[in-house]
């Protein structure tokens, strides 16, 4: 395995727009909102940014093609701006571009922006779109809930978990995220819900009810990264560094091959193992302090606890019900509300997760600050669907941790 980039790149500043139904804002205004916070946090000028990456997934129904929308929104200084798209993992993908640019020495300071303006479609949920000329003839596009709901059918069959037990564990995931989101002023959904509400909600794609699905939001999030040395030279003392950044992309084995049982994410298991190695983590269940995972659906969060090697296979549902991932649990998950309640402006989500982990590490998370000082904070940003996806993992921690 490659040597990795542990501690080679520091986060200089981060920002995040308020997520939600931002009826009055265009994408460029959302990007500016995130950027103003990040640049102030970084304490630099726009002219000091050497390169930028823009993550957006549904560009055809919001910002349009290329890196130009970011360059124009921020009036960047004639630098190279690259737009990246990797389904819902586009946010972490833009972070990866900026981090790698700094790690390579090609840029001293780089910007990662993720944005999505989803509430201009006229209907709720993600926009319907093509998945390519040939796929549209032989594949099933379905909806996001329909694709992820299948995890539950396979999980039950694989692990012999009763439908009611699993549904209750899924409800616990959502009740917890609503409780967390209620404490987050930037969250899209700030209401608390009860287990009964989650269990009795209208069915979207069996067995996923309304509260098993995350919100679809407008929003933007931004990171400015540099080397730890430059960060110090700019006067930073508490330096958060990237411990690991890994990505795994399905090559068709799950969809077309044999062996996958449909109850887990093959890519997440691979990316997690590589990330732990890169970060020097040997016992994730006891070393990871908190996680922000891609909880597009309650069942996704549940099985991801296993794929991150935190819960044992087939037992995440028990850990969930035991409160292990609650805000006051052993390893809080979605302490900011997650995709479920912070919201899911696709291209911004990966950066939003890193933003929360960054705030938590620096003790700047306000009412939702984890009581015990975190050491390693992990974010997991997934794009696609269980049988074909992009899974990215970013682990951040204090310099020296």
């Amino acid at each position: 395995m490659a040597r990795g980039i542990r501690d080679k790149v520091a986060i200089l500043g981060m920002g995040c727009a308020k997520f939600g139904e931002r009826w009055d804002k265009d994408a460029d205004s959302l990007m500016l909102e995130a950027y103003e916070e990040a640049i102030a946090d970084a304490g630099i000028e726009t002219s000091q940014i050497d390169a930028a990456w823009l993550g957006a997934a549904f560009d055809a129904v919001n910002i349009g093609p290329s890196g130009i929308p970011l360059a124009m929104a921020l009036r960047l200084n004639d630098i190279g701006v690259t737009k990246v798209e990797n389904y819902c993992a586009s946010g972490t993908e833009s972070f990866r571009g900026a981090v790698y640019a700094v790690a390579s020495g090609a840029a001293d300071i780089a910007l990662a922006m993720g944005v999505e303006k989803l509430k201009d479609t006229g209907y709720g949920g993600l926009p319907v779109r093509t998945r390519g000329t040939t796929h549209d003839m032989i594949g099933v596009t379905g909806s996001a809930p329909g694709n992820f709901a299948q995890l539950a059918s396979a999980y039950r069959a694989r692990h012999g978990v009763g439908a009611d037990d699993l549904k209750r564990a899924m409800a616990h995931v959502s009740v917890k995220s609503h409780a967390n989101g209620a404490k987050n002023p930037k969250a899209h959904l700030r209401n608390t819900i009860t287990e009964e509400q989650a269990l009795n909600a209208p069915m979207i794609a069996a067995p996923l009810g309304l509260f098993d699905c995350c919100g679809v939001s407008d929003g933007a999030a931004c990171a400015i990264v540099t080397t730890p040395e430059i960060a110090k030279s700019l006067g930073k003392t508490d330096i958060v560094t990237v411990k690991a950044l890994q990505l795994a992309t399905s090559n068709g084995w799950e969809l077309q091959g044999s062996g996958w049982n449909g109850a887990y994410f093959h890519t997440t298991r691979i990316a997690a193992a590589k990330a732990y190695q890169e970060a020097g983590i040997t016992d994730p269940r006891n070393q990871i302090s908190l996680t922000e995972v891609h909880d597009c659906f309650s069942i996704t969060e549940l099985v991801t606890m296993e794929d991150l090697h935190i819960s044992r296979e087939g037992e995440a549902w028990r850990d969930v019900l035991d409160g292990m991932f609650d805000a006051d649990g052993k390893i809080p998950c979605q302490i900011d509300g997650g995709l479920k309640c912070f919201g899911h402006p696709i291209g911004a989500s990966g950066l939003r997760m890193i933003y929360e982990n960054y705030l938590q590490l620096l003790g700047r998370a306000g009412d939702r600050q984890r009581a015990e000082q975190p050491v390693f904070a992990l974010s997991h940003n997934l794009g696609g669907m269980p049988n074909q996806n992009v899974s990215s993992i970013a682990i951040v921690g204090m310099m020296g941790a």
């Binding site: 479609t121 006229g122 209907y123 949920g125 319907v128 779109r129 093509t130 000329t133 040939t134 549209d136 003839m137 032989i138 594949g139 099933v140 596009t141 379905g142 909806s143 809930p145 329909g146 694709n147 709901a149 299948q150 995890l151 059918s153 396979a154 039950r156 069959a157 069915m203 979207i204 794609a205 069996a206 996923l208 090559n251 068709g252 084995w253 969809l255 077309q256 091959g257 044999s258 049982n261 449909g262 269980p386 049988n387």
Partner: protein
Amino acid sequence: MSGAGIHGFGAYVPVTRLQRSAIHAFNGWFAGGLKGLAKGEKAVSGWDEDPITMAVEAARDLYADGARNADAVTLASTTHVFADRANAGVVKEALNLADTVMTMDAGGSQRCGTSSLIAALDAAAAGRTTLHLAAERTTPKPASEREMTAGDAAAAILVGPGPGLARLIAHHSVAMDFVDHFREAGEASDYDWEARWVRDEGFAKIAVPALKAALAKAGLDGGRVARLIVPVAVRGIPELLAKSAGIAPEAIADTLGAVIGHAGAAQPTLMLAHALETAKTGDILCLVGFGQGCDILLFEATGAGARPRLGVSGWLARRRESHNYGQYLFHRDLLSLEKGMRAEHDSKTALTALWRNRKAVMALVGGRCTRTGTIQFPKTDVSVNPNDHAIRTQEDYPLADVPARILTYTADALTFSPDPPSCYGNIEFEGGGRMMSEFTDIAPDALEVGTDLRMMFRIKSFDELRGFRRYFWKAAPAH
């Protein structure tokens, strides 16, 4: 070998059986006179079926597990999907038949089913084997008599040299432009003239003489006929023909009106396939085709030959009762419902890509790695086998007839479907190969991991903007 005969038969009846009482419950206030017809049930195809998909199923029923031998494929229908694209050609692709097969569509009359059968028999005399198919999916006007009597079905007869399981004795045809009803090209429904006139001037003066002439040509006495097949929905007509030709009333074949309805130009083939299921050695079968003239065909059953996978009776047993007249109307474009914005998704087909991928799309042909034996769908340049990503080693591997089972599933209420919820999931083929597939003919609460599946050729989506439809394979419950 001399002469021509029937070498195989098959049928297809859609699973949904709409109760005529449900139709009348809705329309009775307006069309009270149809109360007498509000009995029994009619077979109605789903939103994803048409004469092409139904014909494919009838052909698969005929071939069962046997070799798919045919020099030609003909499809008879008065409700052809395409006015300019060989409908039989689509069926040929779905059946994965050789490109050297000749294809031809027959249409234009209720009689086209029997006329194309006669043409196939004539070709058999010249040594050619024809897969004769007939399928119908009509859109009768709501609250019409035809709505009560019509049904959807398809049937298949394999015609070839030699006697087979039923030898052709004789055929006889007359053509007269007797317009008892009509439907101009592009129109959805028929316009009918008075039934009494059709009986007295049509059946009595055209069909009866034709039947007598055919029997005379064959040198047969009417009393020899074991099965008189008169595919006419009007009560009393089969009896009229039987009596006039000296055929015993017991010989009159069940019109299947009570359980399927009248499937237009497919009804003669359907009833013939039904009669062949129970025909005994030496039985004389007399088939009547009526429409702007009359065709009469006389066969003698030999007791030999292949059996269909299910046949008419098998398909009849695969049945789901429906009282949902509204769903029927919507699926036939007779009722406009708000589909929502998700239905606006553009289903434009790249015809270039369709042609390149026609084996995969139309015949569900996957690939099998000649080095590792790995089976996959679709066939790709590089094998999916994680232990050997062999390049360009795959040979064609047809999956359409390979049993499969459910690996994962959902019933999705968010995705637009003309028949919500949209059911789909990952499936696994026996012996290897996986894909994500839509489920059809399945009740959402019947979905379970491990459920046995059988692939069926169906409409995938409609391109309403351009007047095109996509076909692909879906998974249906095997039992």
